[in-house]
Symmetry: C2
Subunit: 358 residues, 2 copies
């Protein structure tokens, strides 16, 4: 499917919302080499787009205030292809992805770093569009991008644009006790319809010709996590955004960490008609498809209905559902009761059929 | 020089210290997709190599203790080609680079994040070798790698292996006042012979046939910065590791930040015979060539000799020299008094002749 020629620049050419003028300026190797062009690119485009005082200081490291509480630290690289997709782009993904990792770990996101690896020849208007998305997502979630880095690699050595974000947050009590503390009877919740991000990427990439194109769930989980912390407190055992590998991968990891069996019911899973349709057509299971704004939550026995009703009060988690429970280790680490049939082990695939979805 | 075919895998094939068995295992797309193979790669190779309790928890974000002081945060991506070079590899570079950014900003490095973007087909023995370098460099400098991420992109979409590290440190008083506070008479120091990293990469990449190959200065600046802080205190105005763009790029940035002229004397610059020889042969100026373990320091008038003598007590900065002074803005932002001739403006090139040196 992807030979070298096809790969070159597929990332930005496909589904690109920006028209590239014929006399467009492009990223050159010199933009990455620490000379005048590097400083100009950083100051006039990147710092300008993300403008805040810490970045303006242009130090080797950002100097930041003291934090009262304990810290959380995370990192994620983004290599999604194409760069733009219905519901988001690599920039929104890079901000929300890292914010969500902090949020589900019990932290209030404070600061992000931003590192760009650009391929020589990337149009600067594309870079500007991605930086705008980053600035908007950061502003919407109240985090500051305080340090950055840019590298340029020769044509063919990277596909368009890769982004890394790292995030620092402050842990806020009560911190979820974690998957290792799961107990029999705990209830499992998904915060929204599943599989939307992976299907959105697939539909664009494979040019399935759907109209309208299905949209990614790419977004911030900050408010839903906050509402759970404030309303449910210690009732919440653990949370995890269900990205690569989908909800199934989270369940496998939690089952491993706890030694319990995680069991879900197929008929309670929220799946949109378009995701269900495309999945059936292509023989995919929405449980294995990536999300970028949907999480799994485990709460103590009896707390599921309340948690779901708090989540439903927010538009981004209006489709939350209790989907299963935690049991003593039985026939498999993760099981599913299919709509027709008995409880059976859920597939734990080696990989997934969708590379480069984030 | 670099067409697509040449680029593919040049990163690890060249100067590789590991022999690749004919039945070697390779990174596959499935290693990056969040399924069983992803978990296996992370647990058995990455967490194993870097083993510490925080990483073992395998949370979305590392939970870290409270830090007493103010924080510093930095990030850097590494795309060096080839992956291995005399004096280091992409792994040592990724650890020391970020540690040095924290150190010169006045911070004690505490924690690093590590994000790998791997090309499908990268031999796992190469990954293991790089992880070993990362583990050794982290241990030597007393920092912990506490969070990570791995992505795999299809063959041709990235060249071998890219690494991002982000670093969190605690600012330690007295914090250097910064380039904006430079004053007339301040003395400029370089901490060692310049241009070694860029020349080492160039010699490997262009197969110049030198024997022995010149070695990079890739290393930690933690101890030299500490000795200056402890011995010189408020006498130190600012420090900066002179990476991409070399010592010249640091001087341009400091001149911009302060509005002063930074003036150096060619004959005081420490340059090794091999760097001088290759530079003359290829028409390069060592001032523009990258370093990865050498910094520029500005100290108050009269403090230069003491600072240099403290630096000379450490093997990594045994060649430190006072190389110039800060003056009121004169004929140019940065000037050089050549060995033969009068003071003249120093070139501020658009880029540099050496892409992908870090």
């Amino acid at each position: 499917m992807h030979d070298k020629e096809q790969n070159a620049f597929s990332s930005w050419q496909m589904n690109c919302p920006v028209s590239i003028p014929t006399n467009a300026d492009y990223v050159t190797l010199a933009h990455g080499e620490g000379g005048r062009l590097s400083r100009k690119l950083i100051q006039e485009r990147i710092v300008h787009a993300l403008s805040n005082e810490t970045l303006l200081a242009m130090n080797d490291a950002a100097q930041l205030p003291r934090v009262t509480g304990a810290l959380a630290l995370t990192t994620d690289s983004f290599v999604v292809s194409p760069l733009f997709f219905p519901g988001g782009d690599i920039g929104t993904l890079a901000v929300y992805g890292t914010i969500n990792d902090l949020a589900v770990s019990g932290a209030r996101p404070l600061w992000l770093t931003l590192s760009l690896i650009m391929e020589e020849g990337l149009p600067l208007v594309i870079l500007d569009r991605v930086l705008q998305s980053i600035a908007e997502a950061a502003q919407q979630t109240g985090v500051k991008i305080v340090a950055g880095d840019t590298k340029v690699v020769p044509r063919g050595a990277a596909d368009g644009l890769f982004i890394n974000t790292a995030g620092v947050g402050e842990l806020i009590a009560p911190i979820p006790s974690g998957a290792a503390t799961l107990q029999e009877g705990d209830e499992l919740i998904v915060s929204g319809t599943i599989g939307r991000h992976g299907i959105a990427i697939l539909a664009v990439r494979e040019e399935l010709g759907l109209e309208p194109l299905p949209s990614s769930d790419c977004g911030s989980l900050l408010r839903p996590v906050e509402i759970l912390r404030e309303s449910m407190g210690h009732q919440v055992r653990c949370l995890r955004d269900a990205t690569r590998g989908g909800v199934a991968a989270v369940m496998q990891e939690w089952a491993e960490a706890s030694g319990m069996t995680l069991s879900i019911e197929e008929q309670s899973l929220p799946v949109s008609p378009v995701v269900r349709g495309i999945s059936e057509l292509l023989g995919l299971d929405p449980l294995h498809i990536a999300n970028e704004g949907t999480m799994m939550i485990a709460v103590k026995q009896g707390a599921g209905a309340d948690a779901v009703s708090f989540l439903k009060s927010l538009p981004e988690t209006a489709d939350a559902q209790v989907v299963g429970t935690v049991k003593h280790r039985g026939i498999a680490a993760v099981t599913i009761k299919r709509t027709l049939g008995a409880e059976q082990p859920l597939d734990d695939p080696l990989g997934s059929p969708l590379p480069r979805i984030c």
